[in-house]
């Protein structure tokens, strides 16, 4: 079977419209349309993509051109999958929204836009879809908690997409008026550097990378819970897509730094990526809101993608691509788990929550698997990508980048453990004993699927590695990741007699399983233990009767946070003061030009004249 990609885009739009119409009549039915729609789209693209049935012909959207590329397919499958998974949550949340029908429609529209971005071969229409995603997703945000987040989002997104536009127009200019996507690679000289800077800027804003990250925590915290998942798992990946085009596709930018064999441009990106990792980690550690914490973790994971790409080696780029998959799955699962909690508990603030695990064990397991993947611990997907990125960084011998990656990796233990301890574990607070119960089956379903995929990507990376290799071939890159049976070949030093580093995820998973089995045997053969109440704990001679007093969840990492709390608002203050400067400039101009005095105009006219005549310019 063969279908054009435009059919999918149009179908997504049609589903959106249908969701709107039906949603006007019945809220939930409308949101069920989003499930049907995004599942259909995901299924269609994935099936046809793997069987080679997608074509780029245009019969209706004749103003633009599509091309089916492997990397476009890669991103499209991931993003539409994330949308499909999240869409299961929509019916359960739809009642909270002010404009439910609109929500369903825009949800589908932003998916359509994203697909358009990934397959457009006309750069101008790539931008068209890019902007389309911006404004459709823009109106999803204020349906959540805060309205301000929307303007932050738009400010940064617009800055990002206009940077992209500028880059595109530069390419257009340099390529004699052609908007074809292949033009990215053929620019040279100063134009190349400018294009690189601006495209990276666009990637940075979308990915929420330092120093253009401010919107990300704001939006992910305040957007409706399913939308946060979509942003973190799906729409953020648009940034990774642009980053791939800019950093990898354009090749090395600037001169080569000899000692580490890196191009200057890529070096800058790697440094900023490293800063993103560190910044995101430090900020995530000190958050009290679970969603905000995950938001900063998304940011820091974006940094890994950038670091991976900027290495320009097989390991690095493949690691970055793999990280996109692993992070999309894990962070969507984590956000969904938190959303499931928020739905019944009504808050995501960790200091208000505790002991949810006793009522929502499945959700807990989903979250656990997700964070294991995010922290890069085997046997989950995140481990493999981080391993490859580490390999690449060591290969280049970049110490400072290595410090950042390690720091982010260890730091992620710290922050992902926070919600685990404060939100799920600990004392079961009395207010949740009655009200909270496990999420319904249709919410658990996508979460479980995501968890299984997390494990799958962590145990059997073969399918994705193959896909990544196909992407390399498709992009005409000279990279390749060799699979040695079930093992991935890593960094090869070229030193004689030393083979490549091998990683066999399947083996690790098996051994881990054996270990757990042995431990379980030890546990089971020993005497059965007596079950006692949570309140029955050691309190050094005191008697405590309130659960809250036995629940340590506020300022969890206080000693660590104290060390850097002075510096955390630097970037935010920078943007705030930038906004203030604009406002001041505006107020100044207003004061200067717009007093209600008739002579002001005359004065300026005369002043301009006098200036010109006196300055002998004329």
């Amino acid at each position: 079977m063969e279908l054009s990609i435009e059919i999918f885009i149009l179908a997504t739009l049609a589903f959106g419209l249908m969701a709107y119409v039906i949603g006007r009549l019945h809220k939930q039915l409308g949101s069920i349309m989003t499930i049907l729609g995004s599942l259909t789209i995901f299924g269609g693209i994935a099936y046809l993509g793997f069987t080679g049935g997608l074509t780029g012909e245009t019969a209706y959207l004749t103003f633009t051109q599509f091309e089916i590329s492997e990397f476009g397919l890669f991103f499209a499958i991931i993003v539409s999958f994330v949308f499909a998974m999240v869409s299961f949550f929509n019916p359960f949340f739809i009642k909270q929204y002010k404009y439910p029908a609109l929500y369903s429609m825009l949800f589908m529209f932003s998916l359509a836009g994203a697909i358009g971005v990934f397959f457009s071969s006309n750069l101008l229409y790539l931008f068209f879809f890019f902007e389309f995603v911006v404004w459709t997703s823009l109106f999803l945000i204020p349906m959540g908690r805060s309205k301000k987040a929307a303007s932050w989002y738009y400010g940064f997104s617009a800055a990002g997409s206009f940077m992209l536009l500028f880059a595109i127009l530069m390419i257009y200019n340099a390529n004699n008026g052609s908007f074809h996507i292949s033009g990215i690679g053929s620019v040279t000289g100063t134009t190349q550097i400018i294009v690189f800077i601006f495209m990276s800027g666009a990637a940075f804003t979308k990915l929420g990378a330092f120093p253009l990250h401010i919107w990300l925590p704001k939006v992910l915290t305040n957007a409706p819970d399913p939308v946060s998942a979509v942003f973190s798992g799906g729409l953020e990946k648009l940034g990774a897509f642009v980053a791939l085009l800019a950093i990898v596709n354009m090749g090395g930018i600037g001169f080569i730094i000899p000692s580490i064999d890196m191009y200057f441009g890529q070096m800058i990106i790697a440094t900023l990526g490293a800063l993103t990792i560190v910044f995101g980690t430090l900020m995530a550690i000190r958050q009290d809101d679970a969603k905000k914490l995950l938001a900063y973790s998304s940011m820091s994971n974006g940094g890994y993608i950038l670091v991976g790409f900027s290495m320009l080696t097989s390991q690095g780029v493949a690691g970055g691509l793999y990280h996109i998959v692993a992070h999309a799955i894990a962070s969507t699962a984590a956000f969904l788990a938190i959303a499931a909690v928020a739905r019944v508990a009504g808050t995501t603030k960790m200091k208000e929550l505790g002991g949810i695990i006793h009522k929502m064990p499945v959700t807990y397991m989903v979250y656990l698997i997700a964070i294991i993947s995010m922290a890069g611990i085997p046997p989950m997907g995140g481990f493999i990508s981080k391993w490859m990125i580490f390999q690449a960084v060591i290969d280049k011998g970049m110490i400072f980048i290595a410090i950042a990656t390690v720091f982010g990796s260890i730091g992620s233990f710290l922050y992902v453990f926070r919600p685990l301890a404060a939100l799920f574990l600990g004392q079961e607070l009395p207010q949740f004993k009655k009200t909270v119960k496990e999420a319904p089956f249709f919410m658990l379903l996508p979460m479980i699927i995501l968890s299984l995929l997390s494990v799958y990507t962590g145990v059997l990376p073969g399918v994705i590695i193959d896909f990544i290799n196909k992407i390399f071939v498709d992009m005409q890159l000279n990279y390749n990741i060799v699979m040695n049976g079930f093992a991935i070949e890593g960094y090869t030093s070229g030193i004689e007699g030393v083979g490549p580093s091998l990683l066999n995820p399947l083996l690790i998973a098996c051994v881990f399983g054996v270990g757990v089995f042995v431990a379980f045997l030890i546990f089971i053969v020993l005497k059965k233990s007596k079950k006692i109440d949570l309140m029955d704990t050691y309190t050094a001679g005191n008697f405590v009767y309130t659960e809250e007093h036995l629940h340590y969840s506020v300022d969890f990492y206080a000693p660590l946070e104290r060390l850097y709390e002075k510096y955390i608002h630097i970037m935010k203050n920078f943007y705030k003061s930038l906004a203030n400067k604009v406002r001041e400039f505006g107020a100044f101009m207003k004061y200067f030009f717009f007093t209600n005095k008739p002579e002001i105009t005359v004065f300026w006219i005369v002043a301009l004249m006098v200036f010109l005549l006196w300055g002998d310019v004329l």
Partner: protein, 463 residues
């Protein structure tokens, strides 16, 4: 049929309407409808008035550009009038004069004649703004406008003294050969028109007028007049002025500051009307910038798209202000909760101004920007190739932030702001919003339309 009717009929009707006051609103509606429909049937030939041949006598230039602008301006004019006439019956005669003046502006091919029409439409505008009940602000407008047109006249006379002609086409050929001597008069004319076109720093009147505008004056000045003046300015910039050297530097400076300061001022405002008015200052800057660098065809449509959007925006905001009694953003919170249709149209208009895809604004903004980057494009402004696109883009970012802020405020709040819109107003606004979407969707057709404004040489034609 002759184009002169477009000027003569409204003028005649204006006289009649004074005599028969009762029918004057109907007369106005009829005539403005006529002015909207008539251009579709008009001959595409220049009209010579008084029997003198072109360089000597006054002539009306009828071409694609004039037709496009006539249809757009008269269309907007008709809608403004149709929506508001019930409330402002007394102004019928004045509006007829305004119509005559605006049509004259767009048609005339004579520089002095242009001055006359500027004054006619100007005086009508002053009178329209008296409905704001802020005589002092109107007085400011009058002083600024008069000084502006006086400067225009001064520059014009100096030019006449040099060239001995007042005809635009003739002047253009004269200017070709004597570029540097014409700097000073051009600058005078530029400033004079700049006053009306809301360019910084000659636009102190705007705040007083639009900041206190009502349904009629807001839409009239910000939408109809702004479009007309921008197009006229464009006609002169593209056709007559030869911008280079010092003049280019000054104009670049003025335009750059206008665009950026306009957006910054809008960003600094908390009142809905002020936001819109400062934003229209910036938009005017962009339009004139496009005309100046020679991207006239798209600038035309930029001005029109802006006019349509501003009609919706000012119309809605003024109506809200009237009901709520304040135009502070915080007071208007949640206005659209009960007026979804109006809200959606408002949103569409705002998004179109921001240049977001699916809407007319996107097509226009994109193509204008592409114009800067055409491989063979050479800007006549210093740094025009790259600096100005960046300025436009930066301005768009600032613009986006405050518009989104405004939109979220208007859409979300649990308070009950109840505002009633007349059905007619609703229809008009919705139709315009749909038009913005339709033009946004059929980009290819729009591009063809625009291409027809450009003659084979690639130069934007005005005559």
């Amino acid at each position: 049929m002759s184009a002169i009717l477009l000027i003569a009929v409204p003028l005649l009707a204006a006289f009649i309407s004074i005599l028969v006051k009762k029918v004057s609103p109907y007369l106005l509606l009829l005539v403005s409808l006529f002015a909207l429909v008539y251009p579709f049937f008009m001959d595409m030939s220049d009209v010579i008035i008084g029997g003198f041949d072109s360089p000597i006598g006054i002539n009306l230039v009828v071409n694609k550009f004039a037709l496009t602008s006539l249809i757009a301006v008269n269309g907007l004019f008709f809608l403004v009038v149709a929506v508001n006439i019930a409330q402002y019956k007394k102004l019928s005669s004045i509006l007829l004069v305004a119509l005559a003046g605006l049509n004259g502006l767009l048609l005339t091919g004579d520089l002095f004649n242009l001055f006359v029409f500027i004054e006619i439409s100007g005086i009508a505008a002053y009178l329209i703004t008296t409905t704001n009940k802020k005589p002092l602000q109107t007085f400011n407008y009058l002083v600024a406008g008069t000084v502006g047109s006086s400067l225009y006249l001064l520059g014009l006379i100096i030019l006449y003294n040099m060239s001995g002609t007042l005809n635009m086409a003739d002047m253009a050929t004269f200017v070709e050969g004597n570029g540097m001597y014409t700097l000073f008069p051009f600058l005078l004319m530029f400033i004079g028109l700049g006053v009306e076109a809301k360019l910084l720093p000659f636009n102190s009147w705007v705040k007083g007028i639009l900041g206190h505008s009502n349904n009629l004056s807001g839409a009239m000045i910000a939408s109809v007049y702004a479009t007309a003046i921008a197009l006229v300015f464009g006609k002169l910039l593209a056709g007559v002025f030869q911008i280079e050297g010092t003049l280019a530097l000054i104009i670049a400076l003025v335009l750059g500051i206008t665009i950026l300061a306009g957006e910054a001022m809008a960003y600094a405002s908390t009142k809905a009307r002020e936001i819109l008015l400062y934003s229209s200052i910036a938009q005017a800057g962009i339009v004139i910038l496009l005309f100046t660098v020679g991207l006239g065809a798209w600038a035309t449509f930029f001005a029109i798209a802006n006019g349509v959007s501003k009609f919706i925006l000012f119309g809605v905001v003024n109506r809200l202000t009237e009901e709520v009694g304040s135009d502070e953003m915080d007071q208007l919170k949640g206005s659209f909760v009960n007026n979804k249709l109006i809200g959606v149209s408002f949103t569409v208009a705002a998004l179109s101004i921001l240049g977001l895809p699916l809407f007319f604004g996107f097509v226009v903004k994109m193509n204008s920007l592409i114009g800067f980057f055409e491989p063979d494009f050479v800007s006549n402004l210093p740094g025009g190739n790259f600096i100005f696109p960046i300025i436009i883009l930066v301005a768009s970012v600032i613009e986006g932030v405050y518009f989104v802020k405004l939109l979220t405020k208007l859409w979300y709040k649990d308070s009950d702001v109840k505002v009633n819109f007349t059905p007619l107003f609703k229809y008009v606004v919705v139709v315009l919003a749909v038009a913005l979407i339709v033009f946004g969707l059929f980009q290819g057709e729009v591009e063809e339309l625009v291409a027809s404004l450009i003659n084979p040489g690639g130069v934007f034609i005005w005559n």
